[in-house]
Amino acid sequence: MAAIETNGLHKRYGGDILALDGIDLHVEEGEVFGFLGPNGAGKSTTINILLDFVRPTEGSATVLGMDAQADSQSIRQRTGVLPEGYQVYDRLTGRQHVQFVIDSKDVTADPDALLERVGIPEAGDRTAGGYSKGMKQRLTLAMALVGQPDLLILDEPSTGLDPAGAREIREIVTEEADRGATVFFSSHILEQVEAVCDRVGILRAGELVAVDSIEGLREAAGDGATLRVELATVTDNAIEIVEGVPGVTDVTQRDGGLTVSVGDGSKTAVLSALEDAGHEVTDFRTEETSLEEIFMSYTEGSR
């Protein structure tokens, strides 16, 4: 069964701002799904529709097999959420926050154990107004974990955390997935989802431009090569020649050399073309395309 399913989701704000332009998403139960895209691409709008914070202009969504609007309360009973743009209650302590979730979901859980698990055991008696941004994020994660939810929706969970904190979040995500929970989490940084996600979906300007596994994305990006060529002198002619080689998708000039993206073309062809035209190649190396570049290529529209 699908944990999350959307059909043709459109969302228009105030009549003319199109936030979502037909999102068809399918997330399997038990899957860890990374929802990627630059800020403003529509990730939070999609999540807000799943939680019935926002109503779609067109289309529908089901979560855990239930209608996102009609059965929202039952969905949220079985879902743990770390929302985007939230604020904690400054005058309540960490323990009171977690207890509020326990009361709301009518489950039994130990607030102190949860605070311990997210790495802020000292926060139980302190009011949240004095927390750092990272502590607030950890507290909200503890609240999302209450009652072993079937689905975790984490919107930019690494916000405000240092790299160690971001790693701890990934560990918790893995633990939750091992327990059998479905995890849907969004990020604008691919690296953060790379290690834990079974599949990722990439969103750009309200449209889902790719859904695949990390390996699949890598493959789809070609043999993933960037060629770095150092030249004795860089001239416009050299750039033109390289651009003319079949398979070359992008050429940029940098520090006395050229960085060449080669799709499915031959790298040696680039080098021979340069030398045939009389340019002196002093050095060259190939670099594997990083995931970040793949991500950029989807989100910046060069594909």
């Binding site: 914070f53 926002v54 309360q73 039952s74 949220r76 959420v81 009361d103 709301s104 999302a144």
Partner: protein, 276 residues
């Protein structure tokens, strides 16, 4: 269950408001002062007979202002503030419907305001009763019950107004505007209505139905409703002296019931459709 969880959280939260406790200390001191003055300076104030019922009315005189102002202070941000800051996302990530959230807010903030109100009234009633050597259970009980209803009503109005918007500055304008029109300036509004109905001039004698218009403000309805519950035959200043179906102090309770339900219902209607 859901409503109660929200109410409990909200009560814990609002109870820590410093503004609430500042106003409350003021109100409790004022109640004690009023009770003392009523018991000790009865004749100087031109009151003919010193009774425990009289004490109850005297104590009631401060409720309207304290409850209305404090309700606005502690509740104008109830929904708008949570929407503006984003804490509503925590609230609505949990299995609460928007109706649960509104009702929980009304319950939680009412409990918050009920604490100082009841403490102040009980303290004033105790001091006055001891000084006078007379304790009127029914009259003071009626005052407490009516005050509680008034507290819930006012909180419900303010929460309802707060649910209309996602901006705290707009919520403060709405609630202060409400207070100005329905409490502070209502005398002028009432005159205006008469002037309008009389063809743009004031009649030599005020028509009877002005009584009805004058009961519209919640604090006026509170005072009028109190006389309906009060035992004894102390004629309150607001008692109508003419015959009409509405010429009864019970009208106060009807009007409070209106204020209890209608603004909250409108607020719910808007809030339930809003994107947050």
């Amino acid at each position: 269950m859901s409503t109660l969880a929200v109410a409990k959280k909200d009560f814990q939260d609002a109870l820590r408001s410093r503004a609430l406790w500042g106003l409350s200390v003021l109100f409790i001191l004022l109640s004690l002062f009023i009770a003392y003055a009523f018991a000790e300076f009865t004749t100087e104030m031109g009151i003919e007979e010193q009774t425990a019922e009289g004490l109850a009315y005297f104590l009631a005189s401060q409720i309207g202002l304290f409850v209305s102002v404090t309700a606005i202070v502690i509740a104008y941000k109830a929904i708008a503030g949570e929407r503006e800051s984003g804490s509503i996302k925590i609230l609505l990530s949990l299995p609460h419907t928007r109706r649960d959230v509104l009702l929980g807010k009304v319950l939680g903030r009412s409990a918050t305001l009920a604490v100082p109100t009841l403490i102040g009234l009980a303290a004033g009633a105790a001091l006055g009763s001891v000084l006078m050597g007379e304790f009127a259970v029914v009259a003071l009980g009626a005052l407490l019950a009516m005050s509680l209803l008034f507290v819930v009503t006012y909180i419900s109005i303010v929460v309802g107004l707060s649910a209309l918007t996602g901006s705290t500055s707009r919520a403060s304008m709405l609630t202060i505007g409400y207070f100005l029109v329905f409490e502070f300036l209502w005398g002028a509004v009432s005159f205006g209505v008469v002037w309008l109905m009389n063809g743009f001039s004031l009649p030599s004698e005020m028509p009877n139905w002005v009584f009805l218009v004058n009961q519209v403000p919640p604090s006026a309805a509170f005072t009028t409703g109190l006389t309906a519950l009060m035992p004894g035959d102390i004629p309150a200043a607001t008692d109508p002296d003419f015959q009409a179906f509405y010429a009864t102090p019970w009208l106060g309770l009807v009007i409070l019931a209106f204020w209890l339900v209608v603004p909250l219902a409108i607020g719910y209607w808007r809030f339930s459709k809003a994107d947050i």
